[in-house]
Symmetry: C2
Subunit: 131 residues, 2 copies
DNA sequence: AAGTGTGATGTAATAACATAACAAAAATTC
DNA sequence: GAATTTTTGTTATGTTATTACATCACACTT
């Protein structure tokens, strides 16, 4: 097994950020350490990290986020604040059932779920419509 | 009221295709009629069409699809076949509740839902694992 | 008809996101 | 230690999307 240096560094970068980052933002950070890093460098690392599940890709932002979810009982739901950019991961109980029920009705066999909710986090919501 | 020629033409193009198209595929078709069409042309038309709800953007494909859903009681679910590329829209009853329940727990106020399921449609599933 | 306001369209350039293709280097296996 | 495989480096390019500004076409007034 090889060292996979970049993978670890990307994880570190995402851990420090505590929020979503685009591939090119990550690339910028990688370059602080290794000026030779190029787009394939970061996309390779991200592929392996998303494949293994410790990083999630947020499709509607073209961005990546360290997995924060406890277990992986169901598809993760990403709650994305349109105002401050904060993203929270959750895993509601019934969601998988709901989506599986759909599958049963239509004969569709699900492999990967993308569930992303855009809106306002509680902080930003309060700020925009104060009590 | 102005004519909004491109909007109508984009709708027609999507109606003919009966499936998802990328903005640049649409642009190619637009150019068959109007060689002057450029990226902003198609993105403007698509913005107005997606804003009004008659076209959906599929985030995980960077593609656009004519709305096929009956009513809009809840967030549309896009079922995307990884094999044949077919996309079906549905609107399961309980989904909105499920996602709203999540909101209630966390204080997040949802504005827009993205629910996309990748997998195999019934045809492709049968073909890959025959009875 | 001439002027004016508004929304649609044209145009050029570029930003932002992602992958292809191949070369070189490092680790693993034999 | 030679062969093989995997990872990394490098260059280039492909794909998706937006910015910024100019112009056009129509509707409406005067």
């Amino acid at each position: 097994m090889k060292r996979a240096k970049h993978k670890e560094r990307v994880l570190e970068i995402l851990r420090e950020r505590q929020g979503p980052m685009t591939a090119y933002e990550i690339l910028g950070e990688l370059r602080a350490v290794n000026p030779k890093a190029a787009p394939p460098t970061v996309y390779r690392a991200l592929k392996s990290l998303t494949d293994s599940g410790c990083v999630h890709r947020i499709e509607s932002l073209n961005a990546f986020l360290l997995c924060q979810g406890a277990g992986h009982e169901g598809p993760p739901v990403m709650s994305i604040c349109s105002d401050c950019g904060r993203v929270d991961e959750s895993a509601p109980e019934g969601l998988l059932q709901e989506l599986s029920g759909l599958a049963a009705k239509t004969g569709f066999t699900p492999k990967r779920h993308v569930v992303e909710v855009h809106g306002l986090c509680s902080d930003c919501d309060e700020r925009s419509s104060p009590a």
